[in-house]
Symmetry: C2
């Protein structure tokens, strides 16, 4: 299946207008074609912003789709010629169920392109949790000068849920800071940058010992709400928590309770439910909680080029009948 | 001068009771004597908390004084036998004028022992300024989800005021992050870890270009208020600012104005005037300003041992008539 016509039509659906810094242009596409190391078919490219009235018409003739956001209803109704749908996200939870995906089309994620930025962001977040910055932020909101000195971070322990591209980026950050790094994955298979990896069923001893617990998981039926009251109750007193995965991995009221009671020393979350987080959410004012607006993985300087390079790699692989990078198994959903 | 008697009396003035984690004991002193690599005279040691009623009496017979806080009035009135006053601070601004120092006593700082902790803290602060954490903290206080993605920090430029122990620690942190590092010092003399060092009079071109400006200066007549409206006005649009030196280096209303106007993208200050900062200070609620309560340089795990090791080094040097480390020139005041 998945054959490409001799003349291939590429449609890029850019992010909405308020994220213009992430908009790919046909010039960006030409540059990516010029950079490509593998043989590409001739490409007719068009770039449209998500929500543009011409998207449905363009979809009807497109063979390749690259989407900062994917218009799944339009794909389902007009995407009969699609052979490859390339997302720029690491996960597919926002795309489930996959009943909109045309039978002849492969779906690929952009897992891996977010690593360097997250590695740097995780370095900051681990140092912030260790240095009690969530506590100081809460004290600042109350206009209180309250000292709490901390030793060096080296020798502390981190437990990372997820050992894929994002989890490995956090692991590299933690190792560079001198932390002991343990991981949790479905398979429990060993992974580079992790001293040990265990399955979720065997994670409790690590959870009880870790100074920091970090989520980088995709959102699936198995991971939704994984960080609940029981989870936080197993964490050691004064541990710190961070979430770089998806907001719905966390039972948010349970996180608030663990912070308000002082069981956790602090948390830093880059994702929330829903996003954008509404003004009336109790999360904003929760004690020792720092919120960042889903910025931990996006590097505006390289996002477009990295996404286009990945796309061209997969287009060349598709044209030559080779296995695609980050291809989603529509049964296993990862 | 500065001869030690054959049997030497050491008095340690510990920090006030609310900082018990920093209290040195006679057991700590015995351990430091055992660690010492140089020949020490026999030491009779006593530890008292700052403010204890016996301090004056103990001061009368002390030859060596180590102080987490120095009771300058008692030293002036009772310290006639003192030969060495060892402070645990990097600077002496809180001790000026030095008219309380007995004529036969040397005054030494603890410059250098704060380096490893500040290096780690500065790594966090540079990443926070770059990642717009002060902006996100302000947005959180307003319950607003407002995205601002940032590229990697490598290639940015930092200008560090002060090239001594603290400035060098910040420089090492910045170099490890891939920043270009420039310094400002009174002499303008080259310093390790700095690409260039200029005098304050020649700093403007660097100030106009730097993405981050960091103060690590001691407080003197020449440095008081050095970061004023003119200084902030010369910084580039959207630059970030940090202060690890002393609060009074900064004209605080000028800093607030530069932040409120949006000229600076953010600031993180670990020192303020006065300390503790009172609840009614406008700094607490200033836009894009993060305040930490003077914790950037103190590692509770190593502070006592590092201070005692430095003391024993200087006691041995004094006993053998050699030059002391971190000796203050009472004329130049540094």
């Amino acid at each position: 299946m998945n054959q490409l016509p001799s003349r291939t039509t590429l449609l890029v659906i850019n992010a909405p207008e308020d994220q213009a810094e992430l908009h790919a242009s046909t010039a960006d596409i030409d540059a990516a074609v010029a950079r490509a190391k593998n043989l590409l078919p001739p490409l007719d490219a068009r770039c449209l912003i998500f929500g543009h009235p011409d998207v449905a018409e363009a979809m009807a003739t497109a063979n390749i789709l690259l989407g900062w956001r994917l218009p799944t209803d339009i794909i389902q109704n007009h995407g009969k010629n699609l052979r490859l749908v390339q997302s720029v996200n690491a996960g597919i939870d926002n795309l489930l169920p996959l009943d909109w995906l045309p039978p002849g089309a492969a779906l690929c994620t952009a897992s891996g392109i977010h690593g360097p930025k997250l590695q740097e962001w995780a370095t900051m977040v681990l140092l912030m949790l260790h240095g009690r910055m969530p506590f100081f932020a809460t004290a600042q909101r109350a206009h209180v000068w309250s000292r709490h000195a901390t030793p060096l971070i080296a020798g502390k322990t981190v437990l990372i849920y997820g050992t894929g591209g994002l989890g490995s980026a956090v692991a590299r950050a933690a190792r560079a800071l001198g932390l002991a790094v343990h991981g949790v994955s479905r398979s429990g298979a060993p992974a580079e940058d992790f001293a040990t990896v265990v399955t979720p069923e065997n994670a409790t001893p690590h959870l009880q010992k870790a100074d920091f617990v970090v989520l980088t998981l995709p959102l699936t039926q198995a991971t939704r709400g994984i960080a609940n009251a029981e989870f936080f109750g197993r964490m050691r007193q004064n541990a710190g928590f961070a979430n770089f995965g998806r907001g719905a991995l966390v039972d948010q009221p349970a996180l608030c309770a663990a912070l308000e009671s002082g069981a956790l020393s602090g948390a830093i979350i880059d994702v929330a439910t829903p996003e954008p987080l509404p003004a009336e959410s109790p999360l904003w004012a929760t004690k020792n909680l720092v919120i960042t607006p889903h910025v931990s993985c996006d590097d505006p300087a390289t996002y477009i080029t990295d996404a286009l390079d990945l796309l061209m790699y997969n287009v060349a692989r598709l044209a030559s009948g080779q296995a695609l990078r980050n291809l989603i198994d529509t049964q296993k959903l990862y």
